[in-house]
Symmetry: C2
Subunit: 352 residues, 2 copies
């Protein structure tokens, strides 16, 4: 069977060797005679998995002392709420950059127990750029942004400058490039892009923030609950955490963040060069804010749609349909997507 | 390799054929050339999985019209909070039966946005019985109980009588026996006992309750959010939902709830008979409240501990250690545990 070129926006492609090892673990984990799925999460076998996963996150991202790594449930959508609960201070106001759908959802949850203040927005141009040159009010408790915007294809090329505690939803570009973790007080990310399958959510928490919120927090939404219990307050998402650990092993073994950053840059360069050179296509975002993870583009002549779609199908390229709020095409090129898949897409674009 | 007799309290044993099919899906799902883990949750393949899982829950449990089935994240621990948020009415008071650790945790979350009123408790005897003959105050918005108490080995043999909206945490005995779903307004259950692996949480919601809470609810904790989006408001726990669907198929194919209820009764009868007949052992709970899922017992003479533990090990029986709050032994006999495993345990008990 010809392997599909999988451009799915998430859940998305993971390394083939990860699938192979995960498949075996479902039948017989660590030669225990038991499936990973039927083992107690308190067993030594699984506690080792959780600890290796947490430790690999620290190693691969070069997380400094004073931070705790958690694998929880709920997705970034629950993260929006948890971030606001845990970061609210005496002003009960968080500052947000509104860069699209996910940022908006994060702001909405801050308004539940405090106020989500929109510091700057790119909604005026359907989020096709990253806001710059804004002033940050001084009466905020924290500053929140979404590092990569999957739907609109924009990405922050630098960490915003602020003296406020910094919070970031890194769901769709964490582990894709080097990041100075010491700049952040809280990072959260749904696993289902560069880290693993759906069902796990990563938190990287600066220990200093714990227990300092000005609002009362329900047990499960309080990061301190989970930090105090080494990410095992309740039954964790066992399988998703395990597959995330396998993916982190793959990343480390191949050269870590430096290796993947170069590979991602090569993939992005290849595709954006074609978009810019090919008269049939046009990128949808400001050039300086283009995402290396999600490349959004349109056909200049919509009459070519059927022909292009057929060519994609013939080449076994899947998952390229753009999100309904932008239209056109979106090539999601997460860590595990090989350069060959991007070449296959570029070849099809040249054929049109 | 000799198969282990897996008495794990959860995550726990699931049918072998489920592991085999799940293992294949991790490599190549539905002959798509893609792993289930790398497919979009919006793909037809996965939407079909979610719909079949939801529909099988209705079929197997004979869920009447007017209820919606959801597969969400967070475990029953988040369910404690969601139940209280969604059920609070004009009194802002929920009534609870305190039958152990999980019931206590549920009460704590109700106190976050209202009041969790303890209607009756068995804490006076370390939760070794189910409270009976209590009066339910009339100024409550709902009545909550935990149908089976994994740690203490007690189980409700009948649904409590009340005119209040009825809420139940059925994490550890759902799908083990016939239940009249029409008596309930809300049922929730962590998947990792009779339904599937860790990472999914089942909700069965009476549609009538939606949108009627007297308190403001954060987006992700509002059941209406998920009902309105057919359990796909955000990325669902894809793999755990799929494995749950496979387990439900297995249950249906073998004869459904009537079949499993008889099998579970036979397993419980075999083990409790041995506990009562064997002078070396003693059950820890009130006889009339004994759980068919978690059988708790102790050695009458602690000097036999090492000998008994060695016999268990020789027979490849794992997961029998009691919870620290009760001590002794706990045999968790969820749906997929075969009668042969119980016979193996009884054989060891006779040998002592």
């Amino acid at each position: 069977m010809t392997k599909v070129h999988n451009y799915s926006a998430g859940p998305c492609i993971l390394p083939q060797e990860v699938f192979e090892e995960a498949s075996k673990a479902v039948l017989n984990f660590n030669n225990s005679g038991l499936s990973l799925l039927e083992m107690s999460h308190r067993s030594k076998d699984f506690v080792d998995v959780m600890e290796e996963a947490r430790s690999l996150v620290k190693e691969v991202l070069n997380v400094p002392e004073g931070y705790t790594v958690l694998f929880l449930q709920g997705g970034a959508s629950l993260g929006f709420l948890m971030a606001a609960y845990n970061m609210m201070g005496k002003n009960k106001k968080g500052g947000y950059l509104n860069t699209g759908t996910w940022a908006k959802n994060a702001i909405k949850e801050a308004n539940f127990m405090g106020e989500g203040v929109v510091v700057a927005s790119s909604e005026d141009k359907n989020f096709n750029y990253i806001p710059k040159g804004y002033a940050i009010p001084s009466d905020l408790d924290y500053f929140h942004y979404t590092s990569n915007n999957t739907i609109f294809g924009t990405q922050f090329k630098a960490i915003p400058e602020t003296d406020l505690p910094l919070v970031c939803d890194m769901s769709s570009d964490i582990f894709s490039k080097k990041v100075d973790i010491s700049k952040f007080d809280l990072i959260y990310a749904g696993a289902q892009k560069n880290l693993g399958p759906a069902g796990a959510t990563l938190y990287i928490v600066k220990d200093e923030i714990l227990g300092k919120s000005s609002v009362k927090i329900p047990t499960m939404l309080n990061l301190k609950t989970h930090v105090d219990k080494d990410s095992m307050f309740n039954t964790p998402p066992v399988f998703s955490t395990y597959v995330s650990m396998l993916t982190l092993r793959w990343l480390k073994k191949n050269g870590g963040i430096e290796w993947i950053e170069k590979r991602n840059e090569a993939k992005a360069h290849l595709l954006y060069s074609e978009i810019d050179a090919n008269p049939n296509f046009e990128g949808t975002t400001a050039v300086e804010d283009r995402s290396n993870m999600n490349v959004t583009f349109v056909l200049k002549d919509e009459a070519n749609t059927e022909k292009f779609n057929n060519l994609l199908k013939e080449a076994n390229i899947s998952g390229l349909k753009g999100h309904r709020s932008v239209g056109g095409y979106r090539a999601s090129m997460y860590n595990a997507l090989p350069l060959e898949s991007v070449q296959a897409l570029v070849d099809v674009m040249k054929k049109l």
